[in-house]
């Protein structure tokens, strides 16, 4: 059992535990924080899977951008200032049942498949450069569309969330 394996299983365990405990917490803020923990451990798994760029992007954007914005949203939508925002659970039995069934289904189907053995990348130190080149050559269309998408989302989000009363109602 090498160190990477141990670290992989450690990160996997953390991610699994935080994800599962997210189902049962009642405090929304705790949920957000647990998500941050889960994302960080997933990023660690990325690193151990030779996808360093994606891991860094994950940390910066997900944990540092989206979750912060989500925490802003939590603060803005809590009715009582100073008190924690507690949620109720509804439909828990069907929800858990469905999730459980799906999990069992996936595990069963996955275990019936046989996959190839993973291999090492040929030049791991040139990976980021390859990603950059690939963005501009092989994946330039999704790159541009992603940019347009980001623009549209930006405009759309700011319009939806604005408090101006013009052209509404």
């Amino acid at each position: 059992m090498s160190l990477t394996n141990i670290m992989f299983y450690f990160f996997a365990l953390v991610a699994a535990l935080s994800a599962i405990s997210m189902i049962f917490v009642k405090n929304v803020f705790y949920g957000a924080l647990l998500l941050i923990v889960c994302l960080l451990s997933v990023a660690g798994i990325y690193v151990l899977s030779f996808a360093e760029f994606v891991a860094v992007v994950q940390i910066i954007i997900y944990a540092g951008g989206i979750l912060v914005v989500i925490i802003f949203g939590i603060m803005l939508t809590s009715r009582m200032a100073g008190k924690p925002l507690l949620v109720q659970h509804g439909n828990w039995f069907p929800g858990l049942l469905v999730s459980g069934v799906m999990f069992v289904l996936l595990i069963t189907l996955l275990s019936q498949q046989s996959f190839m053995q993973p291999s090492l990348p040929p030049q791991p130190e040139k990976q980021i450069g390859n990603i950059g080149v690939g963005l501009m050559t092989d994946f330039v269309l999704p790159f541009e569309i992603a940019g347009v998408l980001l623009l549209a989302a930006l405009i759309g989000a700011s319009v939806v969330a604005s408090t101006m009363k013009s052209n509404r109602e």
Partner: protein, 101 residues
């Protein structure tokens, strides 16, 4: 090397956990968190399959775009949640049921 199935199992767990959060929680923001978790599970799948063909970078590129989409979706979703909150004074999606039958 860790066998790729274990990552896939983890990804399945994260996916179903995210689904459970979406169905069970009675808060719109928790629903968004669940959606993020599900997207992360798919990302994990992509990176796991990328390990099987280490000379290609398709998986990593796809997951980058998945992250971009997730960002856009989170932003717009939060904007909608804030708007709904301003209009209905509640962030429980069950109470905003004006489209019911």
């Amino acid at each position: 090397m860790v066998p790729v199935e274990h990552i896939l199992y983890l990804a399945a767990l994260l996916l179903t956990a995210g689904l459970a959060i979406v169905i069970v929680k009675r808060n719109a923001i928790m629903v968004l968190l669940g959606i993020e978790l599900m997207l992360n599970a798919s990302n994990l799948n992509l990176i796991a399959f990328n390990r099987l063909q280490a000379d290609k970078i398709d998986g990593q590129m796809f997951s980058l775009f998945v992250i971009v989409v997730a960002v856009c979706e989170a932003a717009v979703g939060l904007a909608i949640v804030l708007r709904v909150y301003k209009m209905y004074q509640t962030s429980v999606p069950d109470e905003v049921s004006e489209l019911k039958d």
